[in-house]
Point group: C2
Chain length 267, copies 2
């Protein structure tokens, strides 16, 4: 019953919470560590490339992206964050970010001081675990993007990205999908390693094939199955369903068994 009463349901929708790793007590501790939400205009930097930052940023509302630039100004988006996502997990361990974080829409962002998170992770197993889990999910997404960038055609890449964004931003309703896509064609290009001109053409192709229907920012995918097939998109890598390996259930006795057995070869 101290003086500071934290605004309660700040982090409620965060993937950090919904993934099911945390006890109520752990959620409370994180809520208490969170700073008041901060609003951002669309297209502004939350953190600049190479900044020294002492805070983790979580997206309450709006979209954002991580991006890197090369010498002659080429931009590569290396991550898209939708509401509920962490924007810069790396800040937990690294002083200097090797990417910038920029909003793609107007957004509301909650920061938590890195040191507080590290302390909490030390005290609470669930928090330590969910952080590792989040990092590994980011990893899985980046690996998939590497496959796309390296081995898929422009046509496929665009299909793949649209599938991913549709899947992450909406609850799937049947085989169709409707959602607000805030990325401009140039931003899509920066994500896909293409030119905005070429993204435009590929988008027209997808429209011509009746794979997407657009009206302003609204994107409709009439037949997700077909678009998934084109883009070789399989949502497994997003790990939307799983998560929440809570404690370590039968691990104690199991671990001993495995330790003594020479049958580990069958890993």
């Amino acid at each position: 019953m101290a003086d500071k009463s934290p605004p309660r349901p700040l982090l409620a929708g965060m993937r950090l919470f919904t993934s099911g790793f945390l006890s109520d007590q752990e959620r409370d501790a994180l809520e208490r560590a969170a700073l008041p939400p901060r609003p951002f205009r669309s297209g502004t930097d939350v953190v600049r490339e190479g900044d020294v930052t002492g805070h983790l940023h979580f997206l309450i509302k709006g979209w954002a992206c991580r991006y890197k630039t090369n010498r002659d100004g080429g931009r590569q988006i290396v991550g898209v964050s939708v509401p509920g996502d962490a924007a810069n997990l790396d800040a937990l361990m690294f002083d200097r970010l090797n990417y910038g974080v920029r909003t793609l829409t107007a957004a509301s962002v909650v920061a938590i001081p890195r040191e507080r998170v590290l302390e909490l992770a030390e005290q609470h197993g669930g928090i330590a675990r969910v952080l590792t889990w989040l990092a590994l999910v980011d990893n899985a997404v980046l690996s998939e993007w590497a496959l796309c960038l390296g081995r898929l055609s422009a046509h496929q890449r665009l299909a793949h990205l649209l599938c991913e964004l549709a899947t992450r931003s909406t609850v799937n309703e049947g085989n169709a999908s409707v959602f607000e896509l805030p990325l401009t064609q140039e931003q899509l290009a920066d994500t896909l390693g293409l030119t905005s001109v070429h993204v435009n053409r590929m988008m027209q192709q997808l429209r011509g094939e009746q794979l997407i229907v657009t009206s302003g920012r609204l994107m409709t995918i009439p037949d997700m199955a077909r678009l998934r097939d084109i883009g070789e998109f399989n949502p497994g890598y997003l790990h939307l369903e799983d998560g929440g390996v809570r404690r370590t259930p039968s691990a104690e006795v199991d671990g001993m068994r495995r330790q003594l057995s020479p049958r580990y070869m069958a890993c």
Copy 2:
């Protein structure tokens, strides 16, 4: 003083250890959890794409890679592991890997059962922390690769990769670098999102520019600075120097200060 005496210096060279997060006690605990090393021939799968695995794999000797394939057999290498690296951190949290792990040379691999690692992370703050750190480093490398794949020319990409591998595989001696590069041109191509034919041509170009000298598997880079410049390579993202935020030194009092101050805006 139980019956099982663990082979002691198994993990000694692992980045897990050398990053300086762990106490002696924590190292011991990990050593005890490690299974006996297993030898692999060059070019064999440690874990196949999509396998269910219950073990984390660490490379004691030799090189390996993580790879993914698309529908028509195109392969993309999404990670290269040198001795000391973890090969499949994701196994810590995910039942099914969305990539395969294949040796690039003859190799020796130590496995640790995932459940044991999770238990240990629960009990030891340092272990939890080093795992998160390793995941975030993997992340930083993948982001950099995304930038390369999306926004660098073939010439630059090859230069960049050679710089990275040189940096990771050897101690830097002055401005030159000599190391065994076990990747075939086809494997380089699978890493760079190119064709082996084109990698061949780019390699000849680099040779012609005196940026590299090859003799068999031996790769010599006479002037690292120049090659770094070509490939826009900056080793920061590898996080070879840093690591080892040990406990949370002045964090207690610092954290409080920051919590009360409205100056967090300057993050």
